[in-house]
Amino acid sequence: MSQATPTGIKRRTLLKGAAGVAAASTLFHPVFAIGGQAKVKVGLLLPYTGTYAKLGNNIKDALALRIEQSGGKMGGREVEFVSIDSEAKPPKAPELTKKLIKKEQVDFLVGPVHSVVGMAMAKMARQDGLITVIPNAGANQLTGELCAPNIFRTSFSSYQPGFPGGKAMLEDGHKRVVLMYWNYGFGKQVAAAFKQSFLAGGGTIVKEIPTPFPKVDFQAYLTEVAALQPDAVFTFYAGGGAVKFVKDYAAAGLNKHIPLYGAGFLTEGVTAAQGAAAEGVRTTLHYADSLDLPANHRFREAFQQAYGRPADVYAVQGYDAADLLLQGMAAVQGDTGARAEMITAMESSTIDSPRGAFTFSRAHNPVQNIYLREVVNGENRVLRTVEERLEDPAEGCSLA
């Protein structure tokens, strides 16, 4: 066991040295904290590679922008980011979350984008009590069964883009509808929320077509839609699937006769790739790039100036996550130990978001407006507000 390393130092000596350093760092840590001058550590678990890389980067950049705007400080203390690439891979989530909580000893946790990563992260955050802000992952459970006093979400629950879809379509006079969605957790939750409002309002679902996730071969299903001749179609697809679906829908000639609706992700960040096929597609979401609010104009201008690219809904969610943390830290003058007081302040905060001001439900999910948008010249234009201050039902949440 006592083999000498190439430099001649015995392995045991090395180990002792390492143990010494580790002990010293645990000794010094509290000293910094008492001084109150230590930096606030914000742990970010977001995807910077893979399919969701763009979402992760936009969230991170907008979050940094918001903190920059308040002088780079939270509650009077400098901010340090500890950023880990989640790769949007659920199996890695527990280990990476643990690394941020135990090894890096972060004061706050922000993340993730992917819902399944979010579930793993939320379970650990619940146990630890660390204040956690979810800037995207939309699974209903995160502010449902898994809700906790220390977990907040600044994005949406999958219920929120789905439920108003039914109301919007009935208002537009579509009573017989085909429902198509990617057959996985998030898609099913959006579809269920849609059905809830659409059926209650007297609509009929001619056929429900769940398609295998993440496959993007829609031709056979679209032939079926043409044969069924519904008044309209409501869908949930996102990213590459959304591009492909909207293009195929138009190529099959369906867009001329059967209006296409969907949860907002159908036309979010993908209209350039969809081109003319996206024109006239209507979607429901808590944000639109073109939203005519002073806060939105200010935010979009600042983001464009700072990073040289336009902001999107994910950037908004990251920006609001930072705003929520700033409000919490301001209430306790930077004392991260005062978790209970901070949570109380965060619960009762109003976020002056680019999407319009919103507050939090008892389950810590945004109570927010949902807009009906239509693609005009490649841009999502707001037609009307379908639901004012829509609250997620937070099924199974012990806080609500």
Partner: protein, 288 residues
């Protein structure tokens, strides 16, 4: 659901099958003649799609994009064969699987470095961007018909090359008895390099043709790889005819499976494979 509905679905199935054939024919040739299990075959499909996207962006037209991308794909196939695959002819299949799996990872990473993770779309040339009205509500995109025509043309061309030319004769001989061809003094190394490059180019061409209808995104090659292996196994390893029939069967089974048995749609093609193998373990046209 009237007759026209089934006819259009038939068209959908044939079109999908033809595209699968382009990918699977290369795979079956490479496996049958060279004895190489090429897991990286899907990567050529992916590169085809990305090259088509890239060159179409540069030149402004899909046709010129494909004409520029095709030689690049050929060279890539040749380079991969010379620099990697050629060292493993005498080795066990396990080594080939390891190597070509590593190639998948490398190619996916290269793709991300060059083109990023965004979803891209390739514009259909204006001449073919219209649709043919079939029923009151449905039109069929001209470009999809064009893909089918191209695939049929290529299939006929392959038939001619393989059945009627000296090269085809060598390929057929190589597929049935490699050692004998070698013993007869044919430069097997050159033949292998050629077959591999052509196979890679066919897969890439399929990716290019499909790019405008499929959109271009990371990992696009992985799913086509799996289904191509299913086609090859059904058709019988090394048989071009088998690959054609297998691709058609899979295309139709997949399309009608989705419509008629939506609950088990993703299983239908594999169930078909199991049935065929139960009946003929060597595949429809494989030699037992």
């Amino acid at each position: 659901m009237d007759l026209s509905f089934y006819l259009i679905q038939l068209l959908n199935g044939i079109q999908y099958g033809l595209l699968l054939f382009l990918v699977a024919s290369g795979l079956t040739l490479i496996f049958g003649i060279m004895g190489i299990i090429n897991l990286a075959h899907g990567s050529f499909y992916m590169f085809g799609a990305y090259l088509a996207f890239w060159f179409t962006g540069l030149t402004g037209h899909l046709l010129s994009g494909i004409l520029l991308a095709l030689p690049v794909a050929l060279v890539m196939g040749y380079a991969v064969e010379r620099l990697a695959i050629s060292f493993l002819y005498r080795r066990d299949h396990l080594y080939q699987v390891l190597l070509t799996y590593a190639l998948i990872l490398i190619f996916n990473e290269l793709q991300r470095m060059f083109w990023g993770s965004d979803v891209h779309s390739v514009p259909i040339p204006p001449l073919f961007s219209g649709s043919v009205p079939l029923t009151d509500t449905q039109a069929y995109p001209v470009y999809r018909l064009l893909i089918s025509l191209c695939c049929i043309g290529i299939a006929l061309g392959m038939y001619w090359v393989i059945q009627k030319t000296r090269l085809g004769m060598t390929i057929r001989a190589g597929a049935s008895n490699r050692e004998m061809v070698e013993a007869l003094g044919i430069n097997v190394n050159r033949l292998f390099a050629l077959v591999f490059s052509l196979g890679a180019a066919l897969a890439a061409l399929a990716g290019m043709l499909a790019a405008p209808v499929n959109t271009v995104y990371p990992g696009i090659g992985d799913s086509i790889l799996i289904i191509s292996f299913v086609v090859v196994v059904i058709g019988g390893i090394g048989s071009i005819k088998g690959a054609f029939i297998g691709a058609m069967l899979i295309g139709l089974a997949d399309t009608f499976g989705k419509v008629l048995l939506p609950e088990v749609a993703s299983m239908v093609v594999y169930a078909l494979m199991a049935l065929v193998l139960f009946w003929r373990p060597q595949g429809l046209f494989g030699r037992g």
